[in-house]
Structures are given as structure tokens and as C-alpha cells.
């Protein structure tokens, strides 16, 4: 009888309903099982990634000892950092401009600013390939200037995301705060620094996270814009996989996953999870 003596499931207690639990479980499995398999097989003591043959960490040593792979990772991180910074500035300025001012062609600009998000990546990649060829972009520059083309391309599709999240945050801004600051003697610049930036800070963090991860794992556009001597992490992994899926690829991918999770965690911690939630 003890089994039936439990409190009955209330109408809104979805977390206690069997069908809901099954559904959530299925979603979790489909979302995360591939990632977990990838991580597990990075420790597989086998050249081929099909059957488990015992635990080893030697593929991590191999991955970290692979100069080309490490170079690609450093390139990717550099590009992501630069693209994030530039996207934050550009995206925020665009958002503030569209929110704050009235000017000719505003509707057209408003409509086209998110075009880089909508246009299929492959088209954007081809477009960049042709653009950089047409302007004769130099391909023999020293590091980090050889990453210029890729960085520019990444900024193009990252900054609209920043604009979107900052705009949605700005929509909740109480204009009386801006007036109050001015009333207390603040100039336009001081209002921006002391009132507007603190208000949109959660959106800036969210936008930076989006930009960084989008840039870090972009393959298509990077593939078209990378020169002969510049290679990024996703492109390198792709070229490695073309020969065979070795645990080395798994190890490198696992490291990247851990890196992004840690970065996200730090950003969330620094900002307070609540503030991030507010932007959505």
C-alpha cells in the first residue's frame, strides 16, 4: 500500500508525470549521446574509432603534440577573440543607432542588418571568396595579419547577433533613466557610459558568447576565405577526418568542448545567471 500512499500528482506537476519524464529523457539522449560517445572514444586505445579496446590518454598527447593542430587552434581562438571584440562594438553601435535615432533609410538598414544571418552560409562563403579575390587581398602576410580575411568574414555574420540581443535589451530600457542622468548634469557620453552600458551589459555578455562560439566553430565561410597558409581548427579537423577518424580528432574535439563550456561558465558566473536569463 505504501506505493499508493504517495501524494497524488497535481495537475501542474509535470516533472512527476511518467510520459513527461520519458520525453525529457529521450530529448537528453538524442542531444547529448553523440557528444558523450565522442568524449569516451577519445580515450579509446585503438587507431580506428569503432570498437573499444581499452583506456589510454596517448591521443591527447598526440593531439597536443601535433603542431599543425595546435596552430589551427591558436588561429581559431585569435580569430574568435578579434571577431568578438569587433562584433561587440559594431553590433552595439548599430543597435543603439537603430533604437535611438531617426534617419533616412532607417527601415532599409533595419531590414538588411540581419541579412548575414539569413543568407545561406555557402552563399556568404562564395561571396567572400570572390570579394577578397576581386580586391586582391594579400595572402602572404605574417601572423596575425594573415587572419584578416577570415576575421572580417566572421565579424560580418557575428555582429548582427550582437545587434539582435542588444536591441531586445534596449527595448526594456526606461528612457527616464537617461533623462534623469542628463538632469543631474551628465553629457551624452556620460549617459552612455554610466546608464546605458550597465543596462545592456547582460546583452553584451550574451552577444559576446554567441559571437565567440559562432566564430570558433564556423567551417563553411572559413573554408572559403582561408588562404593557403592559414588554417583554423574546424578546417583542420575536417582535413584530418578525410583520411580517418582517429581518436586524436576526438581528443582535440573534447578539449574544444571543455574550453567552450569553461568559457561559458566563467561568463555566466561573472555576470550572474539571472542577468543572462533577463535578455531572453
Amino acid at each position: 500500500m505504501a506505493l499508493f500512499a504517495r501524494t497524488p500528482v497535481a495537475p501542474l506537476e509535470y516533472s512527476r508525470k511518467l510520459w513527461m519524464r520519458l520525453w525529457v529523457g529521450a530529448v537528453m539522449v538524442f542531444l547529448y549521446a553523440p557528444l558523450i560517445v565522442l568524449m569516451i572514444f577519445s580515450f579509446n586505445d585503438s587507431k580506428r574509432n569503432v570498437v573499444w579496446r581499452g583506456f589510454t590518454t596517448k591521443y591527447y598527447e598526440k593531439a597536443l603534440g601535433n603542431d599543425q593542430l595546435v596552430e589551427a587552434l591558436v588561429n581559431s581562438l585569435t580569430i574568435a577573440a578579434l571577431a568578438t571584440l569587433a562584433s561587440l562594438v559594431l553590433g552595439t553601435l548599430a543597435a543603439v543607432m537603430l533604437w535611438r535615432f531617426r534617419f533616412p533609410w532607417k527601415g532599409a538598414i533595419d531590414g538588411t542588418i540581419s541579412l548575414p544571418i539569413i543568407v545561406p552560409e555557402i552563399c556568404l562563403g562564395v561571396a567572400f571568396l570572390m570579394f577578397f579575390a576581386a580586391v586582391g587581398w594579400p595572402t602572404d602576410l605574417v601572423w596575425p595579419f594573415n587572419l584578416g580575411a577570415i576575421t572580417i568574414a566572421h565579424i560580418t555574420f557575428c555582429f548582427p547577433f550582437v545587434t539582435m540581443v542588444v536591441r531586445s535589451r534596449l527595448a526594456t530600457f526606461n528612457r527616464e533613466q537617461e533623462e534623469a542622468a542628463k538632469d543631474l548634469g551628465a553629457s551624452e557620453g556620460q549617459v552612455f557610459r554610466d546608464v546605458l552600458i550597465p543596462h545592456i551589459k547582460p546583452a553584451l555578455v550574451a552577444g559576446a558568447l554567441l559571437s565567440f562560439t559562432l566564430s570558433l566553430d564556423d567551417f563553411v565561410i572559413t573554408y572559403f576565405t582561408s588562404g593557403p597558409d592559414t588554417i583554423t581548427f574546424p578546417v583542420k579537423v575536417y582535413s584530418m577526418v578525410r583520411f580517418s577518424v582517429t581518436p586524436e580528432v576526438n581528443a582535440a574535439s573534447t578539449l574544444l568542448i571543455i574550453l567552450t563550456v569553461v568559457l561559458t561558465f566563467i561568463a555566466l558566473k561573472a555576470q550572474g545567471v539571472k542577468a543572462i536569463a533577463e535578455t531572453h
Partner: protein
């Protein structure tokens, strides 16, 4: 008027148009140094626009505004000697209470030690001493408003502007803040200019009230003058509750006047009205200035309180509605003419509300100095 009654704000022929809409229409008024001035009007009457023009957030389409004798044309809000308390309080949510109050001083380049002293002093003034370290989201609406007040007062402005300062507070707190604001104003001696749509708020706090209607000044007067001597139907109706009847002026001597109101009866006044004989006028009669009694018993009451000739200032009717409000009971009475009149009666003893009930026939009379004759 004393010598302090010099204008600190002069609004001269100011109009403001937003496209085709005229928000403020040729307003001229002076606000004196040290007074508590209230701009009162229904929503959309232009009172807030007027306040925002004083603060500098809107520019007049025509006319000019002088603060302390200086023309404010071309002077941006951050350079004006006025500060404003916003309707939403606009307390900066990411700054502590002390940082909020210190913000203006920091911008002005005041030194750290002086900032600390002045912030503490301002917080004490609004009874928030010791709250400096709190964040705004840890405070109630009333407390946030005090922060906004302190943040403005710490700047020692020549004029403090308040936009609907009490509208977001609950009734009890509002009543308390009305007193506190008046007290504060007396203590700091700064001119307060408040915008409100709430007549109780205006009557209880103001030295003078400017009633605004459709962008124009409908009347400029002290609270009691506004209530007892409204200048027109709009003011009579907007400030307090009133019965208004159309009539014709039949007698107009220096010491007495009479108005014949088809809806009410013959009205006698113990003072003259400067209106043309036979003119169309309106009679305004406040509900609390009408005495209610059982027909027949009226004689004694009448002898004691009435000062008009027989047949004047007297009406009969039937009670059609009653609402018991505790301190008073409100009656809606249908007169013999078919029009309705509102009468309020104080409940001086516990059983007073039992004196009358629905469909009772009643008599009414009022004193000869109670009705107000309105020409417009």
C-alpha cells in the same frame, strides 16, 4: 505678498506643438521663489509637457522660459539649475543608493569628502539614513522615491520639479508622503513644482495651483480659492465634486443677485455678480453645502441657517441613490424638475445614516453665500 514672492520661473507666452497637436497653448505664468506650486489637470492636458519644458527635455515652439531671470533658450537639461523627480523615479538600478545620490555631484566634480557628507545629509533629509549601501531592488517603491528625491535635492537646485510624484504609491502612503513633501519643502526652502492629476494631492500640498485644461491655464489660485471660487465650469467640475445648473441672471445688484435655474429653482446670492442682466450663467453648488431634511421639519433648520427670501435656495426631491462612505453619506436626489443633484451629509453620530433611505421625499436648502455663479 512678502518680498520672497519674486518669480523664480517665468513662463512667457509658451506654446508647444507636436505636429498638428497643440499640447501647450500660449501659457504665461510666474512661479514664485520658495513656493510649492502644483500644475493640476486631467491626463493629456499638457501639464507634463510644461514641466518638461522647464527641465529642458522639450523645447517651446513659441515663447520663452526664464529661470531666475535667465532665458533658458538653448540651455540643455544638464546645464539648467533645476532637477527633476521622475514619475518612474528612474533610480539607477545598477548603483547603490549612495552612488545614486552621489551621481550628480560626481559629474559636477565635487570632491570625495564633500560628496560623502552631502550624500549622508540628503539621505537623512528623506529619512533614509543608513540605507546608503542598499541596492534599489532591495527597496520598496516609496523608498525608491525617497532616493530619487535625495538624488535631486543633493544638487541644491533652484527649483525641484516633480512629475506625478505620488501616483505609483498606495493610498495610505500617498497621504503620508503628501505631508512629508510639504514638510520637506518648508525645510529646504527650495521651490517645488509638481505635476498631478489628483486634486486631493494638489489641494493638500500646494501654496498655489495652476489648473491646466487643453493646454491653457484654466485658473491660477490658492487651494481654497480654487475650491470655493472656481473661475469656470471646468475648474468647478475638475476640483472636487459639484452640481452645475444652467440658469438666467434675473437680479444683479452690488449686494445681492438672483439666478433662475429651470433645473433647480430660484437661487439667491448675498453678493453681486458682474454679469449682464438676463445673461446665460451657470450655478455651481457643492454637495456638502446643501442641507438635507425631512419635508415639514425644514422650518426650524431653515430659520437657523437660511438667509434668503422665501422661495429661494430651496428644492424638493426624492432619494434615488445612497452611498455610505463612513465619514459621510452621499445622496443622489431626483428633483421635481427631473434633474438629479448630489448631496453629501456628514455622519455626525453613529445612527445618522439611518435618517434617510431610498425613495424618501426630502427637502433641501443652502446658504446664500454657497452657490457660485459661473459665466463660462
Amino acid at each position: 505678498m512678502t518680498e520672497t514672492a519674486k518669480p523664480i520661473i517665468q513662463i512667457q507666452n509658451v506654446s508647444k506643438r507636436f505636429g498638428k497637436v497643440t499640447a501647450v497653448d500660449n501659457v504665461s505664468l510666474d512661479i514664485n521663489a520658495g513656493e510649492f506650486f502644483v500644475l493640476l489637470g486631467p491626463s493629456g492636458c499638457g501639464k507634463t509637457t510644461l514641466l518638461r519644458m522647464i527641465a529642458g527635455f522639450e523645447l517651446p515652439t513659441e515663447g520663452r522660459i526664464l529661470i531666475d531671470g535667465q532665458d533658458m533658450a538653448g540651455i540643455p537639461p544638464n546645464k539648467r539649475p533645476v532637477n527633476m523627480v521622475f514619475q518612474s523615479y528612474a533610480v539607477f538600478p545598477h548603483m547603490s543608493v549612495a552612488d545614486n545620490v552621489a551621481y550628480g555631484l560626481k559629474i559636477a566634480g565635487v570632491k570625495g569628502g564633500e560628496i560623502r557628507d552631502r550624500v549622508a545629509e540628503a539621505l537623512d533629509l528623506v529619512k533614509l539614513g543608513g540605507f546608503g549601501e542598499r541596492m534599489p531592488d532591495q527597496m520598496s517603491g516609496g523608498q525608491r522615491q525617497r532616493v530619487a528625491l535625495a538624488r535631486s535635492l543633493v544638487m541644491r537646485p533652484k527649483v525641484l520639479l516633480l512629475d506625478e510624484p505620488l501616483s505609483a504609491l498606495d493610498a495610505k502612503l500617498r497621504a503620508q508622503m503628501q505631508f512629508e513633501l510639504s514638510e520637506l519643502q518648508e525645510k529646504v526652502g527650495i521651490t517645488f513644482v509638481t505635476v498631478t492629476h489628483d486634486q486631493d494631492e494638489a489641494l493638500s500640498m500646494a501654496c498655489r495651483i495652476g489648473v491646466i485644461n487643453k493646454g491653457e491655464v484654466a485658473q491660477l489660485a490658492t487651494p481654497s480659492d480654487l475650491y470655493e471660487y472656481p473661475a469656470n465650469r471646468f475648474v468647478a467640475d475638475f476640483v472636487g465634486s459639484v452640481n452645475i445648473f444652467e440658469g438666467k441672471l434675473t437680479l444683479d445688484d452690488p449686494d445681492k443677485a438672483a439666478v433662475d435655474c429651470p433645473g433647480l429653482g430660484k437661487v439667491y446670492l448675498n453678493h453681486g455678480v458682474t454679469g449682464p442682466h438676463g445673461a446665460d450663467v451657470w450655478i455651481a453648488l457643492r454637495p456638502e453645502k446643501i442641507y438635507l431634511h425631512v419635508p415639514g421639519e425644514g422650518k426650524a433648520v431653515k430659520a437657523a441657517a437660511q438667509d434668503a427670501p422665501d422661495g429661494y435656495n430651496f428644492a424638493r426631491g426624492k432619494i434615488k441613490g445612497m452611498s455610505y462612505l463612513g465619514d459621510i453619506t452621499l445622496f443622489e436626489i431626483e428633483l421635481e424638475s427631473g434633474t438629479r443633484i448630489r448631496v453629501s451629509r456628514p455622519n455626525l453620530s453613529r445612527h445618522d445614516q439611518e435618517d434617510f433611505t431610498w425613495d424618501d421625499k426630502v427637502s433641501m436648502h443652502w446658504r446664500a453665500d454657497s452657490p457660485v455663479v459661473l459665466l463660462g
